[in-house]
Structures are given as C-alpha cells and as structure tokens.
Subunit: 436 residues, 2 copies
Amino acid sequence: MSGLRAFDLDPADLHPSLDGPAPVAVGFLNEIMARHPRAVSFAPGAPHPRSYADLDLGRHLQRFLTHAVQDLGHPPDAARRLLYEYGPSRGLINHLVADALHRDHGIRADPEALVITVGAQEALLLVLRALFRSATDVLAVAEPCFVGVTGAAHLLGIGPQAVPETDRGLDLDALLAACRAARRTGRRVRACYVAPDFSNPGGNRMDLDARLRLLRLAAEEEFLVLEDNAYGFTAAPGRELPPLKALDTEARVVHIGTFAKVCFPGARVGYVVADQRVRTPDGSATPLAAGLARLKTMVSVNTSPVCQAVIGGMLLEHGGSLAGPVGRRAALYRRNLAHLLDALDRQAAEGLPPGISWNRPEAGFFVRVALPVRADEALLRVSASRYGVLWTPMAPFYLGDGGDRALRLSCSYLEPERIEIGAARLGAFLRAEARP
Amino acid sequence: MSGLRAFDLDPADLHPSLDGPAPVAVGFLNEIMARHPRAVSFAPGAPHPRSYADLDLGRHLQRFLTHAVQDLGHPPDAARRLLYEYGPSRGLINHLVADALHRDHGIRADPEALVITVGAQEALLLVLRALFRSATDVLAVAEPCFVGVTGAAHLLGIGPQAVPETDRGLDLDALLAACRAARRTGRRVRACYVAPDFSNPGGNRMDLDARLRLLRLAAEEEFLVLEDNAYGFTAAPGRELPPLKALDTEARVVHIGTFAKVCFPGARVGYVVADQRVRTPDGSATPLAAGLARLKTMVSVNTSPVCQAVIGGMLLEHGGSLAGPVGRRAALYRRNLAHLLDALDRQAAEGLPPGISWNRPEAGFFVRVALPVRADEALLRVSASRYGVLWTPMAPFYLGDGGDRALRLSCSYLEPERIEIGAARLGAFLRAEARP
C-alpha cells in the first residue's frame, strides 16, 4: 500500500473486468467524441434521430393502459399501478413481444419462454450466467465480436474462444474444429454467440444454408446458439432471411433481441427467448426463461414497467407488429449505407494508398475498412484532431491481437451530407496517414 | 444425458445461483401469493399505493425537459432526444441526486462520484463485482441479510460470511473477530454490507456510537462499508440519524440507495456513491464510480433516461429535495407499523403459545416474530390455506441454518383495517399451529 492514502484503492485490487478491452475502448471513444464535437463521427452505432419523430411517450403509455383495461381486464386504477409498482421479473409485455416475434420474424415463442430485459445487454449477461457453470464450459464467439458479449463474459469470469467470421458469416469449419479440440481437452463448447445478420462490427451475414448447417452442428456437437438479432431488421424487402430461432426445431437457439434500434435506445428494453426445457425436482420441466427470470432478481429485479409499457404501446399502435415503422427505418439505414459506400468509392477513384479496402454489406449499420497501418488509438487521435473525422478501431473486437489494421465505420445516425463530408475527410486522412 | 431429449437442459449443468436460496424463496412467495389472492399478505415490502397518488409521469418528464433547456442549456429538440437516445453509463441526473443527497441526508458527493443504476440491486451487483477480485477477499454481511446481497454475491461467485445483527444493529465485536480470523488464514474482509436503519429483514438500527465505531473499525481493519439506505427515510422527525456516508471522512463507505420506496419502484432508479479514489496509469486518480460506470456498460449499458428523467422531474418539482413527500410517506409507514404492533399486542393479550415474541422497531417496513416451531414453507402453506394470512419465512435471509424459527411481517402497503384483520388471522394461526 506504499504511497497510498487510506482511502485510495489500488487498481490491482479491483476486478479485472473493470479495465477489460471493452469498457476501456468505450470510455476512450466517449472521451474523444467529447473532445472533438465538430468532427464527423463514424463511431457510434446509434439510431437515426428521425426514428424519434413519431415517438410520443404519453400516447404510447396511454395505449398500453387501454390494453391493460380493455384486453387484460384490469380495473383502471390497477392498470395505472402496474406502471408504478414492482412487477414480475419475467416481464409485463411478454405476450405482446411473443406476438410480434411471430408476425415479424416467424419465431413461435410461448410468452412463458420470454424474459423482458434491460436491453439486449442484460439478456446476454443472464444467459451467459445461467449456462456457464464451470471452467470446462467454453463460450465460442464469432470474431470480431460485439464487445458487450466479451465484456459480460469477462465480468462473469468466463473466458471466450474466438471462431473467425468470414465475409459469409461464422466459419463453421473452424467452429467444428473448436468443438473437437475442446472435447479432446476434457472441455466442451457450451454455447456459441453469433449475430447472423450484418454483425457488429463485422457487417457479415450468414446465408440460409449456413444457418441450417449451424443448427445441425449445434445438435451434433450439443451446444446452444446464442443468436443476437439486433440488425436483422435492416435487410431489404425480399432479402430477409429467417432468424436461426425461426429455423430451430430442437430448442438449440437462445434468441436475444432489443427494441433499442427498432423503437428507441432510451427505453432500455430487450428480450430473450429461452424455450429450452429444464427439469424440476418434481419431474416436470420449466423453460430456461424461468431460470433467467430468477437470475434477473439479482441483477435488476425487473425491467421498468414504465419502459415496458411504452414499448408495449408502440407494438399495440401498430397492430402487434413493428413491420411498418421498422421498414421505414430500415430504408433510411440502407440509404445511409449506400451513401457511405458511394462516397468511399469516389474517394478510391481520387486515389488511395495501396492496401486499403472495405467490405460491402447489404444492410446493417457498419462497414469494415482494412488499412496497411495500425488503426490504433494514436492514429484515431490524429484523425480526430487533424482531419476532423472519427471512427472505431477494430482491435477491441478481437480477443487476441487481430484487427489491429482495421477500423469500423458506422453510418446509422448521420445525414447524407455529413456522410459525404466525413468520407472526404476520411479520404484526406487515409491519403496522408495510411501509407504502408 | 440419460432420458433427456436433445433440447432438455440438465439443471445440474446450469449455474448454481439460479437455484440459490434467494431466487427460490422469491419464486415461492410469488407463487403462494398468486394462489391465495384473498389472504392478507404481510409478505412483500412494497410501497403503499397512496404514495402513487401524486405521480404524473407526463408532468415529471416535462419538468425535467424544462430543466434541461432552461438550466442545462440544451436546445428543446436536443433535450427531448436525451430521453430517447443512449446516454452516459454514469447517468443523466447525477447532479440532481447529488444535490438531494446533500439536502436530505447530509451526504456531500461530487456528481462524478455517483452512478445512477437500475435500482439499488444493480448498484449492489456492480459494487460487489468491482471490489471482489480473488477468493481471498471476504464479504461480511449483517445476518439476517437482504437476499439481494447474498443473491448477487452468489451470481458472481463470491461467498459471503455472516456477522450477526443484534437488536442494536450489526455486532461489531463479531465483525472485528471476523476480520482477525480472515487475516489469520491469509484472507481479508474486503467489505461489509450493512443497512444501519431498520434493516430488511431484521428491522434493527445502529445508534450513532455504533456508526462511528464501525467507521473506525473500517479504517483500522482496512475494509469498505457497503451502506444500504433503503429504509432510513422512515425515521420519525427528530429521530433521524446521519447515514454512515455522512459521517465518513476517509471515503470508507460506498453508499447505495434507491428511489423505489421514496418515489416508486416502477422507475427502477437507484444510485451508488463511490468516491473512493483509484489511481490511473498516468498517476492521477478517478473515483471508483468511474469504474462502476464502465462495468455497467456490460450489465445494462445505461439506466433508462426516461426513468431517470421522471425521477429528476420529481426532485425538481420539490426544489431538489424529497423531504416533503418523503416525510408524508414516512408518517404513513410509521402509522402502519404502530397499527401492526398494537394489533399484535392485542393478540398477545388474548393469549398466545409460549415462545412467541417480536421486536419493536421504531420505523421501517418490517417486524420479526420468533416462534417455538419451524417457520418453513410447509407452515406458510398451512397459514395461507387455513387461516388466510401470509408472511415471509426468515430462513432464506440466513447463510447457514439460522432463522428457521422466525418469520418477517411487512406492513408497508396495507391499510389499517387489513392489518387488523391480518393480525387476528395471524393470532388464530399462531394459537393453533405454533405450539412448542
């Protein structure tokens, strides 16, 4: 304790997840965005402000209260109290979300198999906690991987193992090899995290054949698939693919979703479909969701019924489906993505150093750019201060030392003219600073 | 996997915290309350419905938006977007909560030393995760202990150690002995959880001398005090005692609070004051709260800004202090407690079996009753089905096998006439079923 005052804490005494790559990267990005408010930021994967235009919290709350009285039979005063009191840990709007999952995604889920969570992040934490019991359980993650997954695993002391993601999605041969390698060392792949549609940050998508093969693999190798559906809604009409959960006939898939992008992030409402059966001591079985709800009492007790009612009201207003408003939002995101890719192409036409390339996702929020130099925090500072453009380094999305020569561009919340300006600044930056 | 279908999960394969005493007890109580809707329930520590009478979500939101525009300088559209977008993990209303803590509790906290959490439960989880790094770190808890603490510890793989709570609060001699015993075995008491005011479920209170001695002990033995302030507000005027955090001159206390009881549970808004300094690599220091906010990105990302704004609006409406509305609520709870103790006394006057006694807390939500027989789930079923009265067994609040002959009565949300009826039913039940 040398040199410390009595009330100082030694950082080496705190849990290592506080300073894991995920939270540190998020903190760094927030700091640099605050320091460069006039830069064009391709960093945050935030929804577009226009998606808030039709939001009216009071109207949505009222719509839910009308439903609680007219459809659920609550006296008006009791309906109002639903918003104010504690509620069931499993949730208040499970029936509405289950209906919407069926209408919008072809997922058939018993409301009892759902838990309404504080965003998708809490759902991830609960599922990882429930499924991982011992150090012999391996969590396979598509790499690059959303930092919310690796961060939650770190918090729980679960060490994930990377399975590469290719332009066609998760590398299933590598996943199979990981399962076999684990078994040889007395361990097992317990679950595999994947975002089959326009993953964050990779931007990749699995085709239908790959989805079906992943499900077969899960059955053969006896692991669960943790499906993150955050960006599937951005697919173009006619180009939608069924989520893994809609194809899942053996309850191998735990499906995690959020209303952050399709409604609004401030609601902090997500959900998990966990219909896996768990035996009870009396010989019957309950869905895994019941266990997740018990765990939730130790994390957040229950998701705010006010927030659930706002989302429930939005669902009710659109006849139990979000297809209409979501379709309009998806079109906006595809428009932005097309703008970004066009603007990058124009920069390429004006000349860029060799070794710079990017993927061309059909949809989603993200584009990956490969550089011939390290895309680290130091380079980001240069980009911000000299060129007025921000992006996200890819390295924190890798477990090992991959991704150090790549960056992620997000175009979800910008207007086309800002995308244009940002791409021009990025071009200038790349021409000057990204020479091999 | 004998006898299991492919999609069944073996409960022995899931994390043990799913079936810890805390979540199982909560699940059992919910089930028995649902099965006996007409019973008088002394089980849940829920706020009184009258405390929702002056709630108007729209008005509170508007009040916060006015503040964001007039006092914080946001353009109106940006203020509105604060509610809809992601926000900082540390919170949006830290300045308002810090002000209220000073006015209402004498706690001086920099807004930077606060994190706004999804209720007190998330605050507990974050603090435990941050502070407990290795198996040599011991969490001491006042026993009987709020199940949210032991449940969160279990989820994180932290094994708590019990320190008895007496009628005068935490047994400080036992705590000192626990510190010394830990040190002798190469471990250390890293933190001690205590609710100094009308603890749940014990109903006990620490006097000022005991508070000061606990702080001295924390400094001498180098542990942190995790103070839970959920019930302090119920003290009678003139009988308030300073929270430990208001007496804390060495940043030994992490202070955890919630707006669930003083505003409403459905907001799911709590907070943690963590002003302990943690050194950064560049030699400066940040408050522990900054680390907790980083951890929060892996649990819930951020607390719903809609919910924060409702609470912020309520604070603003009352001039930055909740003393007025809280005082009225506290009076209601003390009235209920007096009714319950009077009604129990009348039952005693009519005769009760030997070996039945109860404590007489000055305030809070809870009364403890000692029985000459086991107050287990089987006895609760008898009480519910034959006598129409529910209570909470005390055993789940104990780490070991204590508390098996005690029950907890909560009177917070009932009307006096229901308390009267419930006490009469309880008397009949005790006379018939609690004979030694």
